[in-house]
Symmetry: C2
């Protein structure tokens, strides 16, 4: 599927495009963003004055059209390789351009879904220009006020020819003011539904997210996987130390989410905030291997052990889960985390933390199975417009 | 939450209200519909000529206002009892009326979400009038053509004063032409998101749905629960007989969905359509009781056995699932089944079938645990506007 972004400059297209790419990649769809602005910067150099973007500038228009088509061809090429979803990040503000893209894609048998970002909240536009455009390579070394004026003139050029997506243009989603309003047209099916749900719960209030594994459990001591063991004495010390750490670091209200397993609930039990228990945060279900050590799995189920080594992401424990299964069931947790305006502390398990981390840090699903998430450490993630800040806080116990 | 329906007559409010009630009840929200039309029929008798609904008819208007308020008070009373969600099914076509409802509800601390149904497709309106209004008690014994004229005049009365829901009226969902377009405004959170997803995938093409348990398995013979056993010879005969039955009964294309368990896949293996395997269709996970007989559970885990007898819906097998868990994980299957335009044969397991059946037949969740779903029987369900037709087809093997 080709997701064709539509909208004036500084309406959050790139923000939404990257967020969707991260979300879809995490869910296992091979997704790539094709950003026409990057093609322009690569081929024509960074700075172009606003006049380059004027519809009256025929040479500029021709150059921009050529770049847009280059990006489109690459996006279509993505499908003949391994790609599932291409996100075509350009203004696509005229109907003629959108028709061109749609016909070109449909000739290749690729479905198109328009995602139009509309913003009439001047404060959001201003914030977007100042936070993302002024720091972009387009305005490197240029006086900020002059850059803002130039960028506003660039927007005006597009606004003169802008035609919003019409009801006769097939399936679309319109996202107004960062998800405050969402309009869907002729949309059906699982994936488009997921996209709408995701877009509805977007916001741009930055707040930290704290992730931690439960404290050391009695099973950890024995090297056994799964189970529903209690904390070890050292794990219990972590539960107490974590409470102290949160007391020092969390200012204001925050939420606490745990799995339904004892070792996670016990890790959160001294916190001043009652924990919400999510079954979706339970550790990967090791099925028939539950309670075994890896050594036992290797000896007693050598074929399974080997299959797991070969493809840890897709390997499903007999009668249990794969990492892919864990990602699927974590999806509602991700939506809820995106939606929260307050910070949240999540106390969960290694495989689950790996999957959550991969989502926030935009790591490919394959990385999920390898990420090192040490015990007795709080991982602090702060989502920003284009990525996440990461800090590790080991807590001595 | 109070879901306030908004829309002209014959726009599918009652259809959507009932569908939402069924879906929400099934998910475990105690939900009830308060339909002002029913209050009118109960208190003033069935037939009222269209002039009763004219905004110029002051006595009619006063009577209608009083009925609407009666229904509203009952809806609000639902929350002081056991209710989670009330669906207030009335036209609510003026802003004044909606403001009244919203203020009244908010005074009780109840959140309001407007769901406006809009339809400008004359064919759908005509179909709605003929299929649902003419068979309603309002027009019992009245000549159909005269009834249609009267009903159209009734619509016109409402259309004169109709004000669509505005952006300053808080959170809303607008459903245009049975989900062809869906607009959401200021919507956030899990439940509203579920509602949008559900409404997006509505349609009114009737098609049968066939549900069956897998053929008899080796575990069935031994009375053991769970496991991943193969079919017994008799189960294999059912797999063959089911193929013959489908050959005789299914006209045109259909889909086949199974669980990922062997006994389900084997039951579908002779069908001419390749089966789609859903993990969400797997049997309830009996956790530590997997592979036991009920007798063994009673002897070895008497406390669990007793807890299960007390509350089978919420009882979660240690390290396994409850019926409630099964319902939650089946939700995407329900959305996909609602969306399908072709018939589907679902080959799954007793607990899962009970949950699916409860959704389609609008049975309370408590019934899930008791419904009798015999082996070697195809259950044929055909969803209609206001309910489901049911046929049982035992297949001798």
């Amino acid at each position: 599927m080709l997701l064709m972004l539509v909208g004036l400059p500084a309406r959050g297209k790139t923000f939404i495009g990257r967020k969707l790419a991260r979300y879809l990649s995490w869910l296992g769809y091979r997704t790539r963003v094709f950003n026409v602005g990057s093609y322009r910067r690569e081929r024509l150099g960074s700075y172009q004055p606003h006049s380059f973007f004027s519809p009256d500038n025929l040479r500029g228009e021709e150059a921009r059209r050529r770049l847009a088509e280059l990006a489109l061809e690459d996006a279509l090429g993505w499908f003949s390789g391994v790609g599932d979803v291409a996100i075509y990040d350009a203004t696509n503000t005229t109907r003629e351009r959108r028709d061109f893209v749609r016909h070109r894609a449909e000739r290749e048998g690729i479905k198109v879904l328009c995602i139009e970002t509309i913003c009439d909240d001047e404060a959001i536009i201003e914030q977007n220009i100042r936070e993302t455009k002024l720091t972009s390579p387009d305005y490197l070394g240029i006086d900020p006020e002059q850059a803002v004026r130039d960028f506003r003139a660039r927007i005006d050029h597009y606004a003169r020819v802008y035609e919003p997506v019409g009801e006769d243009e097939g399936a679309y989603i319109k996202v107004v003011n960062v998800g405050r309003q969402v309009v869907t047209h002729r949309l059906q099916g699982y994936l488009p539904g997921r996209l709408v749900f995701f877009l509805m719960n977007l916001h741009i209030v930055p707040r930290p997210l704290w992730l931690t594994r439960h404290g050391e459990s009695l099973y950890n001591l024995e090297g056994r996987i799964g189970g529903d063991a209690e904390l070890s004495p050292r794990g219990e010390r972590y539960a107490q130390a974590l409470t102290g750490w949160m007391h020092d670091h969390a200012t204001g209200e925050y939420g606490v989410w745990t799995s339904t397993l004892r070792r996670a609930a016990q890790t959160a039990r001294h916190l001043p905030v009652p924990a919400v228990a999510w079954r979706a945060l339970d550790e990967i279900d090791a099925g028939v291997c539950d309670g075994m050590t890896y050594e036992q799995v290797r000896e007693e189920l050598p074929q399974e052990f080997e299959a797991r080594q070969r493809d840890k992401l897709r390997f499903r424990y007999p009668r249990g889960e794969s990492y892919e299964d864990v990602i699927q069931r974590l999806e509602p947790v991700i939506i809820e985390l995106e939606r929260q305006q307050n910070p949240v502390l999540v106390v969960t398990h290694r495989a689950v933390l790996r999957a959550l981390y991969a989502y926030f840090m935009d790591r490919p699903p394959e990385d999920c199975t390898r990420l090192d998430i040490p015990l007795h450490t709080v991982l602090e993630l702060t989502p920003r417009a284009y990525g996440c800040e990461e800090k590790l806080h080991p807590i001595a116990v």
